[in-house]
Every structure is written in structure tokens, then in C-alpha cells.
């Protein structure tokens, strides 16, 4: 039994790449639901095996400092990624119910895919700044989602489109917005991993002692104002 | 107030300790001082290279006694060092049963036997049957003096070797005798040498065991079955003689003897301090 922290990093990256392609596949109209389920199964296997590895790693190696943060971050990222996988399945289901293309959904899904990719890139490259950008980006995704919701509720009310079609679009957008949130969580995990600072829920508390933290908190402040 | 009292007490104790140390040193310093003062004037090359002149004639030396002492100490060493070392090894490595307890008791008692008694013992067992004083008898008497010292110092030194050193040797699949000789004894050879040298220096200065055994001789002799001169006996004989020149030579002999014994002692102790056992086992 010889797990190292780099093994954990490697495993979570493998899982992340599957999650990414799962989302990609889910958003393609021509891909069937069962194909998405194949990837989803893979993801679930990783989900359990990574949790088990982290569990044993902590129990047997009593990691400290960076190693401990890697273990905890990997464990958290593990559940975020698994949920993203679930959302991908939901996306596929809703996409199947939509008859025609809606450009606003396309731009939302591009934004969200970029957020996910960047959050994972930030993890790979130990890049807190990129992670901060992802967090920053979440607001835009939220705005896009709100716009889509407003537009389609309006259209349904005005009977411009079929109710089922409109509702599915809204649900699809909701799924994408959730993935944006989950990517943000991954970015927060990366910042915790790289700096040891937990920036969740207290973006306004300014106690950043390191430069990176300062950047994060400043950006978040700008964002919220 | 209390502090002052405490400091005063401390001062008094310190002072008395230094005083005691000084008192112990005084006899040694005085002896060395007198021996040097009296002996230095009569010592010369002649003293080391020539034999005594006939009574009444001045000059002459103690060549025969110096060589005699070396000769008999060598005989004693040859007999008692191997025996003492082996005995000490036995006591430290196997010394647990009744035999060992008895042996240890015997050796302790042997250490306590007055040297004159040892002389008489050698007289009865060797001189009387052979009907002659001899260097052999002197050597045997000295060896009985050396034996318990070598034995106990060997035991004590080897006992300081921690048990896990022996176990480490055994764990390498070495037979016990290999562990004892190649690791325990060889590893402490310098300390063992020191113990042996201290014992020899003790024997070199003994007079009493030689009085009835080697007896003394005014001529140079290398024969093992004939009387032989030795420094302590020669000093004794000269010192009680009525002749001024002999008395002066006795002082000179004392000086040589004291330098010899002190020299061996200091050399041995330097060896100890250079390679101190406890120092070498620091974790």
C-alpha cells in the first residue's frame, strides 16, 4: 500500500478529463443518452476509488501541510466532479426534449465549458490566478442564465414557444449554471490547495496575508460591488 | 538575608572540598619532591650502566637491579596476563553461575592478601622445595599480585560493553567465541591494555614478595633459578646500610623506580582518556 500525493493528483486529473469529455458529449445533439451513461459509469468508478484512496492515504500516511491539502482538495474536487457528471446526464435528457437550436444556450454552454476547463487547468498548473478568474467568471454565467430564464419565461407566457420546449431550455440552462457553480467550487479548492486559505463564504473578509490571497479577495470584492 | 546565608554555606562547602583535595595531594607532592631532591644529585649514566662496587668504594650503579626488575616483571606478566585476561573474559561473558561467584570471591580475596604473605607463599612452594632463592620464585610471587588486578579490570571493562553489541554479533550468525574475541575483546583492546599496564606498574614497585623469593643479588644474573636483584629490594638493602654512598644510591634507585611507575601509570591513563569507553558508546 503505497499511495503518494502525486498519485492522488494523477487520479483526479484522469477523472476530470472524463468529466470534461462527458460534458462535451452531452452537449452534442447527435450523441445518445446511453453513450453519456457509459462515461458516467466511468466517473462513478473513479468517484469511489478516489475517495477510498484519499481515505487510506490519510489513514496510513498521516499527510501534513501541502500533502494534507492535496488530500482534502482532491476529496472535495472528487465530489464536485461527480456532480458535474450527473449534471451532464441531466443536460443530455433535457437536450433530447428540445426541438430546435437556441443560440443563447450555445453561448452559455461555451462559457461553462471554459470555466470547467480553466478550473482544472488551474489545478494542473498550480495557478491561483486562473482559479480566481474562474470564480470571477461565475457571475457572468449567472447573468447569462438569468437572461435565458427571463427570455424563455416571457416567451412561454406570450405563447411564442411550446411550453415543453421552453421549460426544457430553462432546465438545461439551470444544469449548465450548476456546472458553473461546481467549477467555481473546484477553483476555490485549488486556491485552498495552493495557498492554504479558505475563501468560500467570506469573500468580503479581508485578511489575505499573501499576495495571491489579496488578489483573490480584491477580485471578489470588485465582482460583488 | 536568606540568599546571603545560602551563599555563605556554599562557600564553606566549596572551601572544605578544595582543602580535602589539597590534603590528599600533599603526601604525593612531598614524596616526589624529596625523592627528586635527594635522588637527582646521585643519578648519572654510571648508575644505569655499572654494577655495584665492593663495599667501601664509591660509585657503581644498579644496572643489575633495573634489569632484574624488568626480568621478573616479564616473568610475572607472561604467567598472569593471559590467565588474568581469560579469567576476566570468563567472568564478564559467562560469570553467572556458582563457579563464577566463587571465582570472583577468590579473586577479591587475593587482591586483599598482604604482599608479604604472597612472598611467604612463594617461598614455601618454590624456594623451599628447590632449596634456592630464584628469579622464578620472584616472578611467580609478582604474578600472584598482578593476576587479580588484571582479572578484575578485564571483567569491569568488558562489562561496560552493552549487551546489544554482543547480540548484534550473534545476530550476524557468528559463533559466541567469535563474538567474544573479534568484537568484545578486540573492540576494547586499548582499554584492556591500560588495565594490564596499571597492574604491571603495581608489581614493579613491590618489595615484600621479593624479599624471600628473588632475595637479591649484588651481581648481574640472567639465570631463572638463581637469586636476582630487583630495584625495590636493592633500594631497601642500600637504604638500611650504614654507608653514605649506598644511601645516596638508594635515593637514586627510588627516583628511577618512581619515574618508572608514574610513567607507566600516566601512559596508561592517557590511553584511557584518549579512547574512553563511555564516550565510544554514545548513542
Amino acid at each position: 500500500m503505497n499511495i503518494t500525493s502525486s498519485d492522488l493528483r494523477e487520479d483526479i486529473l484522469k477523472m476530470a478529463s472524463i468529466v470534461e469529455s462527458n460534458l462535451e458529449q452531452a452537449l452534442r445533439v447527435e450523441v445518445e443518452l446511453k453513450d453519456v451513461f457509459v462515461l458516467e459509469n466511468e466517473i462513478n468508478k473513479f468517484h469511489t476509488s478516489i475517495d477510498d484512496s484519499v481515505f487510506k492515504y490519510i489513514a496510513l500516511k498521516t499527510p501534513a501541510a501541502t500533502d494534507l491539502r492535496i488530500a482534502l482538495s482532491v476529496m472535495k474536487m472528487n465530489s464536485e466532479l461527480e456532480r458535474i457528471g450527473d449534471q451532464a446526464v441531466n443536460i443530455k435528457r433535457n437536450l433530447k426534449r428540445i426541438a430546435k437550436l437556441h443560440p443563447s444556450i450555445d453561448s452559455l454552454s461555451e462559457e461553462v465549458k471554459m470555466m470547467l476547463r480553466n478550473s482544472i487547468d488551474a489545478f494542473v498548473k498550480h495557478d491561483s490566478k486562473l482559479a480566481t478568474d474562474v470564480i470571477h467568471h461565475d457571475q457572468e454565467v449567472n447573468d447569462l442564465y438569468r437572461d435565458i430564464m427571463k427570455t424563455f419565461i416571457g416567451q412561454i407566457k406570450a405563447d411564442f414557444i411550446d411550453f415543453d420546449e421552453g421549460f426544457s431550455v430553462i432546465r438545461l440552462a439551470k444544469c449548465l449554471e450548476r456546472i458553473g457553480d461546481l467549477s467555481t467550487n473546484i477553483a476555490e479548492d485549488v486556491i485552498f490547495l495552493e495557498s492554504g486559505t479558505d475563501i468560500r463564504h467570506n469573500a468580503h473578509i479581508k485578511f489575505g496575508r499573501r499576495k495571491e490571497d489579496q488578489v483573490v479577495t480584491d477580485k471578489l470584492k470588485d465582482n460583488h460591488e | 538575608m536568606y540568599l546571603k546565608y545560602r551563599k555563605l554555606k556554599n562557600l564553606i562547602f566549596h572551601f572544605s572540598l578544595y582543602l580535602c583535595a589539597a590534603l590528599v595531594l600533599i603526601p604525593l607532592v612531598l614524596i616526589i619532591f624529596f625523592v627528586f631532591k635527594m635522588g637527582a644529585t646521585s643519578i648519572n649514566l654510571d648508575f644505569f650502566t655499572s654494577l655495584p662496587k665492593p663495599v667501601g668504594e664509591d660509585g657503581g650503579g644498579m644496572k643489575h637491579a633495573i634489569l632484574g626488575t624488568l626480568y621478573m616483571v616479564s616473568i610475572a606478566s607472561v604467567i598472569s596476563i593471559p590467565l588474568g585476561l581469560l579469567c576476566g573474559v570468563y567472568l564478564s561473558e559467562f560469570g553467572k553461575g556458582k563457579v563464577a561467584t566463587l571465582l570472583r570471591l577468590t579473586i577479591d580475596m587475593l587482591t586483599g592478601v598482604p604482599s608479604i604473605v604472597i612472598g611467604i607463599f612463594a617461598y614455601i612452594t618454590i624456594v623451599v622445595p628447590l632449596k634456592s632463592f630464584s628469579a622464578m620464585a620472584g616472578g611467580v610471587a609478582l604474578s600472584i599480585i598482578i593476576l587479580p588486578i588484571v582479572c578484575r579490570s578485564t571483567e569491569e571493562i568488558l562489562k561496560l560493553v552493552p549487551g546489544h553489541i554482543r547480540e548484534a554479533g550473534l545476530a550476524l550468525g557468528l559463533p559466541r567465541w567469535r563474538v567474544i574475541f573479534n568484537i568484545v575483546v578486540k573492540g576494547n583492546l586499548s582499554s584492556l591494555t591500560t588495565g594490564v599496564m596499571l597492574a604491571i606498574s603495581r608489581a614493579a614497585g613491590e618489595t615484600a614478595p621479593l624479599l624471600f623469593t628473588a632475595f637479591g643479588n649484588m651481581y648481574l644474573s640472567y639465570e631463572i633459578d638463581e637469586p636476582m636483584a630487583s630495584l625495590p629490594v636493592q633500594i631497601y638493602n642500600y637504604a638500611i646500610s650504614p654507608f653514605d654512598d649506598w644511601q645516596r644510591q638508594a635515593w637514586a634507585g627510588s627516583l628511577v623506580l618512581i619515574v618508572l611507575v608514574l610513567g607507566i601509570n600516566i601512559f596508561a591513563r592517557t590511553l584511557i582518556s584518549l579512547k574512553h569507553i563511555k564516550f565510544r558508546y554514545r548513542g
Binding site: 500500500m1 496510513l60 | 546489544h164 548484534a168 550473534l170 545476530a171 550468525g173 573479534n182 554514545r282
Partner: protein, 253 residues
């Protein structure tokens, strides 16, 4: 991989009237690290010392049962303990290089006294073992210095090299890092993981985390009894016995 090298069957050990080890049976697979943990006085050192019969050094010690080394009972009365110890090496709690011997002499003493005289062969053994013990680079320029002149951690690695020199398939370690500082301990732990490639290592340790870090299997002893034996990943994540749980969580012992 799962060949059993050493198999202990119903081992009981007494010191005179006191029974220190009570009916313990454990199998040790080849090329693995097994740890023995337990509170002080639980018989773990006694158990370990029986495995190469060094327990016979303590007067009054007596072992009953079977210890099969590749199928042969080494506790048998016809077996010479000296032969047993050539197959089962041991490293002790305190680093104990032999006194007045150089580093080179320390490492090669075992093979020299077993009859190897050839200088180049001895040198080769020394280099190989010192490399295996991850000490070569630190001492290669001072092989003629006293073994005792090294630091504690280096001394312990020297002792490991010395034990490896006679090439025993099984290596016993009795609390090998308890006298060392954390960094030196870590070096020894890494070394143990390396040794696993060629040797079967059985280590007694007071340090549970050490057992968790380096071992494949762990046995937990209390008062001479084996409470639990299993893969480290089970013992330290989900022990079956309440006593084990209490011990590794620091509630008992």
C-alpha cells in the same frame, strides 16, 4: 508474491514462570514489510527476538511452538541458532556499530568471519550493502573511519548494511528508529520500503504512524496475545477489534 517465507505457529514464550507470548500464529509473505505494534510489555519485542532465536540470550527464556523458515522449524532442538541467524538478520533499537572498527570493517565483519578473505570481494560486498542501506554516498570517502564516528541515523543505516552483508532473506528490526530524530527516522523508513524489493522485513515499532506508513501488514499485540493481524490498510482504516480501534485512536495503552 504471496509465498510464505516465515510461518509462526502457536508460539509461546516464557521468562521463567512468566508467559510473555501466548499462542501466536502469523504467516509472513515474501518481500513484504510487516509491523508489530502494541503497548509496552505486550511481548512484541520478545516475539521478534524468538524469530532468530536471539531470545536465548536472556537467561530463563523458553520458546515453544513452531517457527517455519521456508518449511523448516528453526526452533527445533537439532537446529543450530548460529545457522538460523545467518538467514534471519536483525537490527536493534540503539544503533550499535562494533567498537574500534572502521565503517568498512563493520560492514564486512560478518562475511569475513564466515571465511571470505579476498579484499576485492569484501570491498564489493561493502559497497553493495552500503548502497542498499542508502549510506554509500555519505561514507564512501571515509570507509576507514570508526563506525562510531557517524551520526546516529548513519550508524543505524550502517547497522542495516552490516546485517545485509550476510544476505539474509528475512530482516528483523526492533524499534529501529526509536533512538533517532524524525528526519533520520524518515530516511530509515524510506530505506525499509526499498529493502522490500529483496527482503522480507518484520519491524517492531512503538510508532503507529510508522507502521501505517511503511508496512503492508500489521499485527497488534496486547499482553502477549495477538489481537488482530491484517493488511495495514484495513487495520488503520477499519479494524475489526474494538481493542485495536481503541489503541490506534489513542484511547488505550
Amino acid at each position: 508474491m504471496n509465498n510464505i517465507v516465515l510461518s509462526v505457529k502457536d508460539l509461546n514464550v516464557w521468562y521463567n514462570d512468566f508467559q510473555a507470548v501466548k499462542g501466536i500464529s502469523i504467516d509472513y509473505p515474501e518481500k513484504s514489510i510487516s509491523a508489530i505494534i502494541g503497548p509496552s510489555g505486550c511481548g512484541k519485542s520478545t516475539f521478534l527476538r524468538c524469530l532468530n532465536r536471539i531470545h536465548e540470550e536472556v537467561p530463563g527464556a523458553r520458546a515453544e511452538g513452531e517457527i517455519l523458515l521456508k518449511g523448516r522449524n528453526i526452533l527445533g532442538s537439532k537446529i543450530d541458532p548460529v545457522q538460523v541467524r545467518r538467514s534471519i538478520g536483525m537490527v536493534f533499537q540503539k544503533p550499535n556499530p562494533f567498537p574500534s572498527m572502521s565503517i568498512l570493517e563493520n560492514v564486512t565483519l560478518g562475511v569475513r568471519l564466515l571465511g571470505v578473505r579476498d579484499k576485492s570481494k569484501l570491498m564489493q560486498v561493502a559497497e553493495q550493502c552500503l548502497r542498499k542501506a542508502a549510506l554509500w554516498d555519505e561514507v564512501k570517502d571515509k570507509l576507514s573511519q570508526l563506525g562510531t564516528s557517524l551520526s546516529g541515523g548513519q550508524q543505524q543505516r550502517l547497522c542495516i548494511a552490516r546485517a545485509l552483508a550476510i544476505d539474509p532473506p528475512v530482516l528483523l528490526m526492533d524499534e529501529p528508529t526509536s533512538a533517532l530524530d524524525p528526519i533520520a527516522s524518515l530516511k530509515i523508513e524510506n530505506l525499509m520500503s526499498d529493502l522490500k524489493k529483496d527482503y522480507t522485513v518484520i519491524v517492531v515499532t512503538h510508532n503507529m504512524q510508522q507502521a501505517a506508513r511503511v508496512a503492508d501488514y500489521t499485527s497488534f499485540f496486547v499482553l502477549g496475545e495477538l489481537i488482530e493481524h491484517g493488511a495495514c490498510s484495513d487495520i488503520f482504516t477499519n479494524p475489526k477489534e474494538q481493542k485495536t480501534e481503541d489503541y490506534i485512536t489513542g484511547k488505550f495503552g
